[in-house]
Amino acid sequence: MESLTSAPAIELSHVSKHYGSMQALKDVSLAVQEGEFVVIVGASGCGKSTMLNMIAGFDRPTSGRIQVQGRENTGVNPECGMVFQQYALFPWMTVEDNIAFGLKMKRMSKAERRNRAQEYIDMVGLRGFEKSYPKALSGGMRQRVAIARVLANNPKVMLFDEPFAALDAMTRQVLQEQLVRIYEQQRKTIVFITHSIDEALLLSSRIIVMSARPGQVVQDINNDLPHPRNADVQLSERYLELKRHIWHAVQAEVVRSIEAAA
C-alpha cells in the first residue's frame, strides 16, 4: 500500500451516516489530494463535523468507505490531527502540557518537548499562560491551545473544525497567516470547516459547499485566487464573484433547511 503514492490523501466513496433514523450524511464521495487545503462550508447541522469525525476515525460510516493515505481506518488515525469544535483540552494538564501531549506520545525528551511547546505557545499568543489550567482560560484562549496542540504535533493531515470561531478578528488574522505559512512550507493536507466565507476564500485551495441535512456535496470549487491573498486580492473581481457564488449556494441550502423544518 505504501507504494501507492498517487492515491489521494483522503478518499470518501459513497459515504452515508445515520444516527438512528436521522440521516446526517448521504452518499458523499470526495477525494482530497495530498497538499490540498480544502475548506468545507455549509448550514449549521448539515453534517460537517460528522464528516470530519469519520475521516479522523472516531466514528464509522453507516455505509461507504473512507481511506486515508490509501488505508481504510480501523480506528482513530493519529496521522489526522484534529482541532475539535469543543476544544477537547485535558483539564488536568497545564497549557504547556496540553500542547506538548502529542510530542510526549512520540517519546520526545522533556527538554525538547518544552522547547517545541514554547514555540507554539508564542505563536498563538499565550506566553505567560504556560502553567495555567484550561479552566482559567477564556474561550478564545482555549481554542488557541487546541490549535497549538495539533500544530505542535505536526501530523501529515490536519482537520480543523471551526478553529477560529471564538477569536477576535485580529487574533484570527494572525493565526490564519501562521496556518497558511505552515501549510505552504510543509505542504500539509488540510481539511478545514468554517462559517466565514472570507476565511474560506483566504485559506483554501478548494472549497466544498455542503447541502442542508442530509449532508451532500453540492459545490466543489477550485479556489484559483493568487497568493498572497492580500487586500488587493480581496478587492478583486474574482474574489467578489466567488464570494457571491458561495454565499448564494450556502444561502439556498439554509433556506431549504428552514423550509423543510417549517
Binding site: 479522523a56 472516531f58 480506528g75 482513530v76 488515525n77 493519529p78 489526522c80 490531527g81 484534529m82 475539535f84 469543543q86 477537547a88 485535558f90 483539564p91 488536568w92 494538564m93 501531549f101 502529542g102 510526549k104 506520545m105 512520540k106 489550567y133 484550561p134 479552566k135 496542540r149 495539533v150 504535533n153
Partner: protein
Amino acid sequence: MTAKYAPPMVSVERQPRWRRLKNPLISLVSFGALLLIWEGATGLGLIEPLFLPAPSQIAQRAIQMAEQGTLLGHIVASTWRVTVGFLIASLVAIPLGIILGFSQTSRAIFDPILSFLRPLPSMSWIPLSLLWFGIGESQKYSIVFMGAFAPSLLYVIEATKSVDPLLVKAAQNLGARPRDVMIEVILPGSLPQILSGLKVMLGIAWTCVISAELVAAREGLGFMIMNGKEYFQTDTVVLGMVLISVTVMATDLVFRFFERRILPWKA
C-alpha cells in the same frame, strides 16, 4: 415603571475572607449542642446508661484505658491492619480497574470471576480466610483486602466511564497508544471520582477490620467493642465507636491533603 415580577436572588454561596470562619463556627456550635443534649439526657436519667452512657462517662473510660496503656494499642492495631489491607487493595484495584474500564475484552475475561467476588461481604470471607490464613495478622489483612478490593475495583471501573470520551478521542488522535490513554487520560480523568470512591472504601476497610477482629484478636478497636459488649460495658463500646470515627476522620484529613496536591486543576 413598576416592578411586576421580581424573582428572588439566589445566593452564589461564595464567602468573602472574613466569613470563612462562619461554617466551622456553625459546626462547632452544633457539635457542642449535640454533646450538651446527650449529657443532659443521660444526666437527668432520661436514658439509662446501659443503653447509652453519658459523654462524660465515656471520657472517663477513655482516660482510664489510656492510663492502663491499652487504648493506644487498640488504635494502632486496627489502623495498621486497615492500612495494609486497604493499600494492597487500592494498589491492585486502581490499575486493574483502569485496564478493565478501558478494554472491553479484558472486562469480558474477568467478568465471571469479578461478578462472583464483588458482592461478597467481608464477613462472609471470615470462615475461608481462617482456614486459609490461620489466625495471624495475614488473615486480618486478607479480610480487609477481600472486603475492599472488589468494591474498589467496581468503583474504579465506574469512574473510568465518567471520563469524557471526547478526551480519549483527542488523545488517540494525538498518537496515544492504549497504554498512554490509560495513564494519561483515563487515570487523571477519573482520579477525582476514584479518590472520592477511595474515601468510601476506607469506610468499608474499617468495617472489614472490625469483622476480622471478631475472631482470634486480642487487640484492636473491633476487639475492644466486642469485648465491651461481652461485659455490658456500653461505655467501652461507644468509646470504641468514637475512636473508630476519630481515627477515620484523621485518615480523611491526610486524604484530603493529598487530594488537593494530586488534583491542582480542580481547585
